[in-house]
């Protein structure tokens, strides 16, 4: 006979004697406790990472407020006698070629870079999702029209579009952010459309139609949650891309106007002095990397909550 139900873990052989068998009742509680502990431990590790990420973003926010509200951190104050100084108490991140405080500029850069990134996301993710979900869920003529518009956007060379818009509307945070955002709409639309296309074929959406669920509610309760994980993970990638894109634009001279700091801009400025004064580049680069990681960590948590 090759079959038997579980014998008590501590008894060597399956004994048909009732007494031995009944000893099996509270089995495996140790294993379960371990598993519960493992989940708790994983959660605690996740929570620590999330806390660190949140603290970093909070510090950035506080410093930004300080730089806006007080003259303590002035990113424009130049002192040519103190150019390219290494990190010290007075200048924690040193000074740049014009004798400006790199710490102050990095903090001010955070403000500009993040606002650009947020505007980019707002335009790209919200616009792209609306368009993609609508195209994927409603299909038909709407899908065709949207597909055509997306192709048009993709056909226009990105740089030319940016240069045109920036030269018409000036290199403001809003115009740069919304232009990069516009360029991200097609990518967001594609990601969300393909998911919406499969979701509309799912039986639970058909079942929702049968019980007269209003279309907006179907979109919110059935389609969006299905789109969300992909959307969220893509959004964080897009946010990083936006920060980098803004930096590249600044480098090319189409970013924020000259003295106004942004991380990308400061990195670009410091590139020529990389050998002699690496702190000019490293400080904003570190800030950028830490911010990207913080955003990603928080993104992971958000994603987890969805799935």
């Amino acid at each position: 006979m090759t079959l038997a139900t579980r014998a008590p873990a501590d008894a060597p052989a399956p004994a048909p004697a009732p007494a031995a068998a009944s000893a099996a009742a509270p089995h495996a509680s140790a294993g379960v406790a371990a598993a519960v502990r493992a989940t708790r431990r994983r959660r605690r590790a996740d929570a620590t990472a999330t806390t660190v990420a949140a603290v970093w973003l909070a510090v950035l926010a506080v410093l930004t407020l300080v730089s806006i509200a007080t003259p303590l951190l002035d990113p424009y104050f130049q002192d040519f006698t103190a150019a390219k100084l290494g990190p010290s108490l007075a200048h924690p991140f040193g000074t740049d070629g014009n004798g400006r405080d790199v710490f102050a500029r990095t903090v001010a850069g955070a403000q500009n870079s993040l606002v650009v990134a947020v505007i980019t996301l707002a335009v790209g993710a919200v616009g792209g999702t609306l368009i993609g979900v609508a195209a994927g869920y409603f299909r038909g003529a709407l899908d065709n029209v949207i597909g055509f518009l997306i192709d048009v956007v993709l056909a226009v060379p990105a740089l030319i579009l940016i240069i045109t818009i920036v030269s018409f509307r000036g290199p403001s945070i809003v115009s740069i952010g919304s232009t990069i955002g516009l360029l991200m709409v097609p990518a967001f639309a594609r990601v969300t459309r393909s998911i919406a296309l499969t979701v509309r074929e799912r039986d639970y959406v058909k079942a929702a139609l049968l019980i007269d669920t209003p279309t907006p509610r179907i979109l919110v309760r059935s389609v969006l949650p299905a789109v969300a994980p992909a959307l969220v993970s893509y959004a964080f990638t897009a946010m990083t891309a936006a920060i980098v894109a803004e930096g590249s634009l600044s480098f090319l001279g189409y970013g924020l106007a000259a003295p106004a700091p942004s991380w990308g801009g400061i990195i670009a400025e410091g590139r020529s002095d990389l050998a002699t004064a690496p702190w000019i580049t490293l400080a904003p680069a570190f800030a950028l990397a830490a911010t990207v990681m913080a955003i990603t960590t928080i993104g992971e948590r958000v994603k987890e909550r969805y799935s």
Binding site: M1, A21, S22, A28, V32, A35, A38
Partner: protein
């Protein structure tokens, strides 16, 4: 019934215990299940809906649900290879090779945006480079063998264009494409009408005879087991209640749960039953380990100790075992 020492078992499960932990809640799904399947043998699993048959099959395959932590004890060997010690990567790399599965719910296990032929040969093309045309031809052949009409055209279709039963056949084709040592069929024919069901099961029989594949057939159709399996396992609330040669379990069931199950089968002859003889009550909650016998609350021959003491495995006849206090008493009396 015991396998010879030299033979590798297609499946060897020992004292398998599976608990799902999500947050603070624990679901105790399987409580010490052991099962051996020899090469070329077909074992049927029947049992109450929700008693862990699919979890059992999925655990053997190494599929863990998302969102819950799975706590597993015991051991699982498929064709001699330890499934529990294997890493996720190992499981994935040998997916389909050692064991493959026909899913209960074909629509959810297929990608609606990928043509079916690709999904059928996925297990093969994932590991080896196969020419596109060869792969497709193979998929068409498999579709034909599971009785899909017009397989050339159907291979190019998307899952949404198939009827429920035809999707199920796509799943079957995908599962046998890689010639596994063990096939786990989770209600493979529930969506099929009897004439197609017969054909599909004939096909599984043929594959089994030709390749020595072990088959675990999860079903609730007890009529079907009779012709298709050597042994039957009756499961209830994560435990094995009774096991034995299929013919014997069906004709002389020992466990009261098995008897209730057999009585509930709707009949094609005899008087029409407007009210079918259901077993009153429902499955105990799986939120705690079951004390005693899980069927006690619904059992017509229940005794006091059934609620507190776990019933022993009673050998009724050679290879026929039931876990029941009442059966134990009978056995005692007749001795």
């Amino acid at each position: 019934m015991t396998a010879t020492a030299s033979e590798t078992l297609a499946l060897e499960v020992r004292d398998l215990e599976v608990n799902f932990v999500s947050g603070e809640t624990v679901t105790y799904v399987l409580e010490g299940v052991s099962l051996d399947v020899r090469q070329g043998e077909a074992v049927g699993i029947v049992g109450e809906s929700g008693s862990g048959k699919s979890v059992f099959a999925r655990t053997i395959l190494g599929i863990r649900p998302r969102g819950s932590v799975v706590d597993i004890h015991g051991s699982i060997r498929v064709a001699g290879a330890d499934q529990l010690a294997a890493t996720d990567a190992e499981i994935r790399s040998r997916a389909g090779d050692l064991a493959s599965m026909i899913y209960q719910d074909p629509m959810s296990s297929l990608n609606p945006t990928v043509r079916v032929w690709r999904q059928i040969v996925e297990a093969i093309t994932n590991r080896r480079r196969v020419r596109r045309d060869d792969a497709r031809a193979q998929a068409v052949e498999l579709l034909r063998s599971v009785g899909v009409p017009d397989p050339e055209a159907r291979a190019m279709a998307y899952p949404g264009e198939f009827s429920g039963g035809m999707l199920q056949r796509v799943g079957i084709a995908a599962a046998i494409a890689s010639h596994p040592d063990l096939l786990l069929a989770d209600e493979p024919t529930t969506a099929l009408d009897v004439t197609v069901q017969r054909r599909v099961l004939d096909l599984l029989d043929d594959v089994r005879a030709a390749s020595g594949m072990g088959l675990v057939l999860v079903t609730h159709d007890l009529g079907l087991l009779a012709d298709r399996t050597d042994r039957t396992v009756v499961m209830y609330a994560g435990r094995i209640m009774e096991t034995g040669p299929t013919g014997i379990v069906a004709s002389t069931p020992a466990h009261p749960y098995t008897r209730g199950l057999l009585a509930a089968i709707p009949r094609l002859s005899g008087p029409i039953q407007r009210e079918l003889p259901a077993i009153g009550g429902s499955l105990p909650p799986l939120s705690a380990p079951r004390a005693g016998c899980p069927f006690a609350a619904r059992c017509p021959v229940v005794q006091e100790r059934c609620f507190t003491e776990r019933p022993p495995a009673v050998t009724v006849a050679d290879g026929h075992t039931a876990h029941c206090w009442a059966v134990a008493d009978d056995q005692e009396a007749s001795r």
